[in-house]
Subunit: 190 residues, 4 copies
DNA sequence: GATGAATGAGGATTCATTCAT
DNA sequence: CATGAATGAATCCTCATTCAT
């Protein structure tokens, strides 16, 4: 029973993310999402309170997944810089393998919807990453900066660059990638 | 015969930008925009073919204004780095004085609307800036990078940081600003 | 789950026919039709794809009903002329008892809407009637004429005359009716 | 001066008839008509009180022209039957040379618009034709019938047949035409 | 006389959501 | 739990008409 439910929730989630990425929040109507998910519109309301809640949930889940994916394996790295490089490469891999996740998050983050989300819910997602940056700063590896600024400086450009699309110079070879990480690192290095 | 009024176009433009920033593309209905602009809904259609065209026009105008504002006075700078620092500070000043412009552009850029815009129209806006980066690279000041990547690395983090809001560590003192530019510059410096 | 209601479709159909007859295709807005049918505007779209489809459906249904009504009982007539007289009287009776049907069909048929209908759909409706005329011609009772011409010559004047309204000489007594049929018959009789 | 005015009125009239035939009363908006006529929407209102009046005027003018065209040369015919045959052939020629006239009239006549027209205005148009039928009846050539019924019986089928379109058996050779007139005449002949 | 700008009212249609099964 | 029917409110947009020049 529980499995079947979670499956259906997944179908709805995936359909919603896909359609919202294709058509925007407005264009992706509940009916279209329902049809794409193979369920009745009414069924969506068994899993989500309403459209706003659904979108917020999607964002929080995707964002959490994104950061979890970035942190994957970082605890096996000995050095702080190694952890960050690992996270950075994870991020790049995710942008390649699951571009719809970041795309959705960015659309949401840059829309007015974001203001209805209590910031703490987002902060909590970032806390493992924040710990790494705090350690880096404590070790004097990076400049003393607010976490958000440091994080943004390291990971922001990669996200932005990947948005550009392949024809605008997105890096693909390992060397280009290393260069890009080096650039990011240098910007925050103490 | 009455004559078409540039002022009226401005009213509509401003109202549209404000409402879209507040409520998103979907929430900002043509009626609401009309009311906020003090005109009839039908009047908007004298100035813009339809909502999609209007939003695209707004984006192109705002983006062009943004880049023009960034380039302001750069020709008076002797060095390439000076030009870029000036542009960078212009950007910061614009983010402070007219935050709605960048906000709108980012919402548009991260939405599916962007895909309906021919990329050349955007490229054209960036061309003066691209010239500066080309010169920088020619002088060996910065690493050899595709323009979009280099531009993003220099100006991207500032935009991202300013989106965070004051409580998340947005820099305000001149020293903090200088630090931020230094970080951006170092990331691309040869 | 509620179940789609044939009765509701009827309500919509009747309201639409009535309003279109009263106010024309343009005047009969979907909202007015909905109100007259006692349903929400949105409900109409559960039963008809859009206004154009609705009007076409109405035409095809009414036209089919009209021809079915005309053919009623003709198979009990021994002679071809008897069949045609019966059909002719059926037509007259229908024009009296359900004038809105012919009125709607004529409005549709004389409007540009008709051109969106594939002619075969209409031809099919006429096929039983065409068979009778073919038999008449085979028996040498009527002149050799294309079906549409023969049909029009027999039934057309009656329809036209009934449109005139009572004050313009619409026949009412059985004698007048017999005269009119005799006129129609003579025009095509061999 | 006067010429120029009448010219412009003609342009508007022709554009309106054409568009209404193509798109129906609703589809042919005043703006579209204005554009097709090469004038401003406001200009139409210098020549016609409003859309309803315009459509009515068009109908009355076209209908009057139609009947004038039918009557052309009938006074040179010696016999009543000759006059009617001439009118009938004129009608056929007009249906071929200026189909838009009859088409417009039929669309109008079969729409609810017609009910806003005082019947006398129409009757007056028919009066010369009515005189011919009265003479025919006085001479005992045709059955005693209300004018409208007789007229309809003679000319109605031709109009209906021409509406069918060439693929449905519209007559084209002189023999077919003679047959058709013979049919019409027989139906009313005493 | 002629214009194009301007408009409020209303058009067809779709929306997020709820109801009844 | 799941559904498709049902809906009032809202969508974008166009209309017939008038205004100011």
């Amino acid at each position: 029973m529980r499995v079947k439910d979670e499956e259906k929730r997944q179908q709805i989630r995936d359909a919603a993310v896909r359609l919202i990425n294709e058509m925007g929040f407005a264009g992706a109507s509940m009916s279209k999402i329902a049809k794409a998910a193979g369920v009745s519109p009414a069924t969506i309301y068994l899993y989500f309170e309403n459209k706003e809640h659904m979108v917020q949930s999607l964002y929080l889940e995707l964002k959490a997944g994104l950061l979890q994916g970035m942190m994957a394996g970082t605890d096996q790295e000995a050095t702080i810089k190694g952890k960050l490089r690992r996270a950075w490469r994870n991020f790049h891999a995710l942008l390649i393998s699951r571009p719809e996740i970041y795309r959705f998050c960015e659309q949401f983050y840059n829309s007015p919807y974001i203001r209805a989300l209590p910031p703490e819910k987002i902060d909590r997602i970032y806390s493992p990453m924040a710990a790494v940056f705090a350690a880096a700063e404590a070790q004097g590896l990076i400049r003393p900066l607010p976490f958000a600024v440091a994080f943004t400086s390291v990971f922001g450009p990669l996200g932005l660059v990947m948005k550009l699309g392949p024809q605008n110079g997105v890096p693909s070879t390992p060397e280009e990638l290393d260069t890009l990480f080096d650039m990011a690192w240098r910007s925050v290095a103490a």
